[in-house]
Symmetry: C2
Subunit: 464 residues, 2 copies
């Protein structure tokens, strides 16, 4: 049931925008423009002061709209919000996003009271409410977009679903993802979450076919939701990875969270234990968050911890060896039979071990031959291809081969590329074809470890 | 003494290139072209098969050059190298870079023998030798450049000196620094280091006025050089920061290092203890290495661990609080007097604490007023300015003010900016004026901690 109503927040056929406005800079204008530009369904601006806004007929009240809109967005001053929601309930609308602020987050008795009243009204009509004090919903497939910013670049359509307790963070993150070409399916930020909360949204994203990876930013769950969160997260994790950035991990950070969203950040160790139980992948840093998302989008699950490294620069081989073994991977020593095959392919100064060092006169062909042999004989669970493309004979054609090999082999192949012009071009070719590219050995290793931990969860092995 | 000869490697008046060649793709051609394009001194190609190469008179032997060149670069097959160095010694040249490979790194008895012979010849003539099997020297001021690659973008002239045990890594790193606009003074990679080694080079960079930060990649020091390294590093650290990325930290990484440069990676814990004693800043990851270099280039030393955070997004305030306190910084709670001043400047929904949350309707003017008050009254040792510029009223003019405040205040001010278009523009403005920009709260915090540790070393407080 909850799923079918929640879907109205993301895929409504019609929407009312209460507080729509023609005035530049007004939230009610930005949201209306968002819908006009990308939403395929019917749009009903509501504002008692206008007959028409931006070419659309404007309604004086909710009651005048010719149908019960699937979704309503409310952007009127806080004191008017409960009455509007009541009208919407009367009209038959069951999904309401309240973007207006001025409730509990004010820290005043009036704010608190108003918020309680709002919840009562919603409950009495069976209205599901997102907010108040939130930026609401962005749906990259249906064009629902209540994010009231004109400065966010829209990310490409893709498979990452975002649930963020911080609205500003969700916007900045999507702006960055757009810049990096990482695709988003849908995003939501729920503000004071007096009704619909992160746990329900997580369940919805779990069932959403458009979403292959769920990315969450949370400060704290609502009191008493811990048990349900673990149950839901575990069920979702059985199908798709959940990557969580938990803010308010330190005592001082918890204090900052309390003044930000009134969240009870709680004991971080308890959250960590819950994440582990539920197969949730925790990103411990901002970089890790997007790195890990990328590796999940690109790579198949990994079956074990044995990694082979192929490089054209010995130093980078050493760096990768340190980074990978530090997080628990094994770099198996090349067995004699493999050494012999490699030796036959390579000049005497190349190093036939693991890492395999093709050295500075490496060519695309040398990469291809060596990778083929390792995929065949290396008994590896994953391969890391490091390429410093400043060497003379590397043109970058190996990139297409690596992508083809990855598909044929069916196991993870990731890459490390460092530099400017040629590096950017080669990295682009690799990334485009799903061979996740990193610039830092340590970030590569951490991301591969996240893939490993999640894969073990999926395989029914609880390890760490 | 050693300093005066070492300076010939970087600032010679004349250079002989033995093994210079007109043939495309030959190392001897790439190096000659490098000198022709940027070196201001006299260039003498030496090759018995040519009278002229690329428009320059070519000499049949070293003996025929009309002067004793300050520096010689040797790029002939390994077996011929000792005789060439002997000729150079006879001619009076005292600084020789041997780029040729084919010595001890081959792992053969002949290679070993040849290397010993080479060292004997050099010693008997008082020739200082860099290499063999190295890419040698890049000097961004004098145009010495023996890095035989045509694919490296040249970084701008600047203040970072690079000493790298891995040649390919030095090239990739400089290519990346060029891309990011981080300036380099000089760089050197010494290959098998049978004579001039990292310790001597570190001493040279310590005395080099063009170099304000020394960046080192090392796998292992030469046997018996540990004590001297600590002495030299400590002396250099008293004047300028040394940032070291130590590869071969794990047992498995040490094995990879042994097959890469025959380095004895040694016990990492001993290196760490040595680094701490000597005030060396260790970068534990590739990202950290360049982050830390940037903060040293931009920021003054820091006097204590008290940090104020100003943000327009609560979530990012929480993230920064976690990250900063996790590495040992204190975010002092705003005292009542400061709160009152801030309260008078800010709308009621803003949060006047630390972090100060200017919220999503923040303007450039709001940033300016609040930063001014905090610099005056905040009793802070550093300020972090976080700006998610997707909010409507932020145009970015605050960037110039922040830079001006930093100079006036005399203490570190760093910034966090996340996003695409506007973010990139604002980040560029801040970075250009020396307000170090980060995208990740964790990397910002780690870099600020490196600045703190080094500042304490300089202040005579050994802390960790």
């Amino acid at each position: 049931m909850s799923h079918s109503i929640l879907s109205k927040f993301f895929q409504p056929s019609s929407v009312a925008i209460v507080g729509a406005s023609p005035k530049e800079g007004k939230i009610g204008r930005v949201i209306l423009e968002n819908f006009i530009s990308r939403f395929g369904g019917r749009v009903y601006p509501v504002n008692r002061n206008y007959d028409e806004i931006l070419g659309l007929k404007c309604y004086r009240s909710v009651g005048e709209i010719p149908e019960a809109p699937d979704l309503a967005v409310v952007a009127v001053p806080a004191p008017e919000v409960p009455a509007v929601v009541e009208e919407l309930g009367e009209r038959g609308t069951r999904a309401v996003i309240v973007v207006s602020g001025g409730f509990r987050e004010m820290g005043t008795a009036e704010g608190e009271l108003l918020e309680r009243k709002l919840l009562e009204v919603a409950k009495s009509y069976g209205v599901r409410l997102l907010g108040p004090n939130c930026i609401g919903v962005f749906d990259n497939w249906n064009g629902v977009n209540t994010f009231f910013t004109t400065k966010m670049k829209i990310p490409p359509r893709g498979c990452v679903g975002i649930i963020s307790q911080s609205g500003a963070f969700a916007i900045a993150l999507m702006d960055l993802m757009a810049h990096r070409g990482i695709g988003v399916s849908r995003a939501v930020s729920y503000g004071n979450k007096i009704d619909v909360d992160d746990v329900e949204l997580l369940e919805f994203f779990g069932k959403d076919d458009r979403t292959r990876v769920v990315l969450m930013y949370i400060e704290g769950l609502r009191e008493g939701r811990g048990r349900l969160f673990i149950d839901v997260a575990r069920r979702v994790s059985e199908k798709k990875p959940i990557v969580i950035y938990k803010a308010g991990r330190t005592a001082r950070g918890g204090r900052a969270a309390a003044s930000h969203t009134a969240a009870v950040a709680g004991d971080y160790q308890i959250y960590r234990a819950a994440f582990r139980q539920a197969g949730v992948v925790e990103a411990e840093s901002f970089d890790e968050m997007l790195d890990v998302v990328r590796i999940f989008l690109d790579q198949p699950l990994i079956c074990g911890n044995r990694v082979f490294v192929v490089t054209d620069a010995g130093g980078v081989g050493v760096m990768l060896t340190d980074a990978l073994t530090s997080v628990g991977f094994e770099l198996p020593v090349a067995p004699p039979s493999l050494r012999e095959r490699l030796r036959n392919e390579l000049p005497p100064h190349a190093i036939v071990d693991n890492p395999v060092d093709l050295t500075g006169d490496a060519s695309d062909e040398r990469y291809v031959r060596v990778l083929e042999i390792i995929a065949e004989d290396g008994d590896a669970d994953a391969i890391v291809v490091a390429a410093l493309p400043q060497i003379p004979n590397l043109r970058g054609t190996f990139a297409d081969y690596v992508a083809e090999l990855k598909n044929r082999w069916g196991k993870p192949i990731v890459s490390l590329v460092i530099g400017s012009k040629d590096a950017i071009e080669i990295a682009g070719r690799l990334q485009e074809k799903g061979v996740t590219v990193f610039e830092s050995p340590e970030r590569l290793a951490k991301s591969l470890r996240a893939l490993y931990l999640y894969s073990m969860f999926r395989a029914g092995k609880r390890c760490c």
